[in-house]
């Protein structure tokens, strides 16, 4: 297509008519979104983030229910084909029994988690915890985070430590709404925590690394040159800085690697927690800081 003087004038007119108008709208919208999603001083997210999460959480819950229902239908049809030769009452009894077994298994699992937590809390009497269910995992490829069903209304604050029932570090509260919170996991690229390594309690920093995040691992760094580390060394939080209580189990050293320049080295840490199996977590709302 020839793009002569007439075309150039049309393009200028087009840019003036639509481009400027759109730019003003976009900049205004970006400012509004930026301000409305900004985290407040008390750690709570902005109004727009709160509204979006209020919309998102029930939708994700509903979709999850639909998926469960469809799985239930699939299971039912499968059983129907299998049991068609048997009588109707036996089939119903079986379905009912299966439902009860499923419910009992879920209750038993939760019971075990709570009992384990109770045992852990008996050893750590200063912890004030809040249990929460994971409602959804973040869809982004660039972070490792999930949303939980409790928020500021339950006394949770930004930066609170999140653990499993047996006291393994899961992550940290990164964003907060009234009845929801986003947890940044231990492998997230923005994670950092002071830790102690091995029997000699060498101080180091646990930091997120994108490449390791994809392997479900994280990085141990910032230790002194004469430090000796071994694979299999266990890592616990140091409690320094006040964000995490001391003694929370983080994981173990699985590998030692040198940095790109070869001048220093870091350790690869396999977290103790299996993030893919998590369904319920416990937030440490308060604890005694040991200096």
């Amino acid at each position: 297509m020839a793009f002569g003087k007439w075309g150039s004038a049309a393009l200028k007119k087009y840019l003036k008519q639509y481009g400027v108008r759109l730019a003003v709208i976009v900049v205004a919208a970006a400012l509004i979104v930026g301000l409305a999603t900004r985290t407040k001083d008390d750690g709570r997210s902005g109004a727009l983030s709160g509204a979006a999460s209020s919309l998102r959480i029930p939708i994700q819950g509903a979709v999850g229910s639909v998926v469960d229902w469809m799985q239930g239908i699939y299971g039912y049809v499968y059983q129907y084909d299998k049991l068609v030769a048997e009588n109707e009452s036996l089939r119903q009894q079986l379905a009912e029994a299966q439902r009860q077994v499923h419910e009992a298994a879920e209750a038993a699992e939760e019971n075990i988690r709570l009992r384990t937590l109770l045992g852990y809390l008996e050893k750590n009497t200063t912890f004030v915890t809040e249990s929460a269910m994971i409602t959804s995992w973040d869809a982004s490829n660039w972070v490792s985070a999930f949303t939980i069903s409790k928020g500021a209304d339950n006394g949770i604050e930004k930066g609170d430590c999140v653990i499993t029932e047996s006291g393994m570090l899961v992550g940290q509260i990164a964003e907060l709404g009234n009845n929801w919170a986003t947890v940044r996991t231990v492998i997230d690229v923005n994670m950092d925590a002071g830790v102690l390594v091995g029997d000699s309690s060498i101080a180091a920093m646990l930091v997120g690394d994108y490449a390791l995040m994809q392997e479900g691992k994280c990085k141990l760094s910032y230790f002194t040159e004469d430090t000796t580390l071994f694979t299999g060394d266990s890592i616990v939080t140091s409690g320094r800085g006040g964000a995490f209580p001391s003694g929370v189990v983080v994981g173990t050293v699985t590998e030692l690697r040198s940095e790109a320049g070869g001048q220093s080295f870091y350790a690869v840490v396999q977290p103790a927690v299996d993030l893919s199996l998590l369904s319920q977590v416990f937030i440490i709302k308060d604890f005694e800081v040991i200096e």
Binding site: Q17, Y18, L22, T37, S49, V143, D209, A211
Partner: protein, 182 residues
């Protein structure tokens, strides 16, 4: 003085509302598909992110201004639903929409091949925008970031087909009423 909307204006208003509602449903449908259904499917640890393909489709058929506005809506929705960024897509999607719409109004045809080229470019640009701060400000390993960006683009490519063909069957497209800047 008594103000009264003419039948013509009412018809136009109704068409605009219908068009807006259809595009909103189009956006919400794909947004839920991406963030709720396909967020559970991550081959090689990477999930699809196909919203930019929708912005390109709408921009191609609707032109720069409406494409930009659709991009703005899609960008806000993506920023609110995905963790890790605040206004990244709110700023980048409208630019993509306007640029593709402008090109479509002046230079491009609206066939699938043209769309596919720009949609894939938009998918990759979005992935690049997402990894930008990790790469340049946080000093994260570049190989892993590029790998994720490429895989995210690849996994999103199948969705450009429904994005294009659904957008194309909207009723005003069937009438052949392509928008024109003239």
């Amino acid at each position: 003085m008594k103000l009264q909307l003419s039948d013509l204006k009412l018809d136009e208003l109704w068409l605009r509302i219908r068009r807006g509602v259809l595009y909103m449903l189009y956006l919400l449908g794909f947004l839920l598909l991406q963030n709720v259904v396909f967020s559970h499917i991550a081959p090689l640890g990477v999930r699809a992110m196909f919203m930019p393909a929708l912005v390109v489709a709408v921009a191609l058929f609707e032109g720069g201004y409406r494409g930009g506005l659709f991009g703005l809506a899609a960008g806000i929705a993506c920023d609110l639903f995905l963790a890790g960024q605040r206004v990244l897509f709110t700023l980048t999607f409208p630019v993509m929409g306007f640029a593709v719409g402008l090109l479509a109004d002046f230079f491009l045809n609206r066939r699938f091949f043209t769309y596919a080229v720009f949609a894939v470019a938009a998918l990759f640009l979005s992935a690049f925008a997402q990894m930008f701060s990790l790469l340049f400000y946080q000093g994260q390993g570049s190989w892993a970031l590029w790998r994720t960006a490429v895989l995210q683009t690849l996994w999103s490519v199948p969705f450009i087909f429904p994005a294009y063909y659904i957008c194309r069957i909207f009723p005003w497209k069937a009438e052949g009423a392509a928008p024109s800047p003239y």
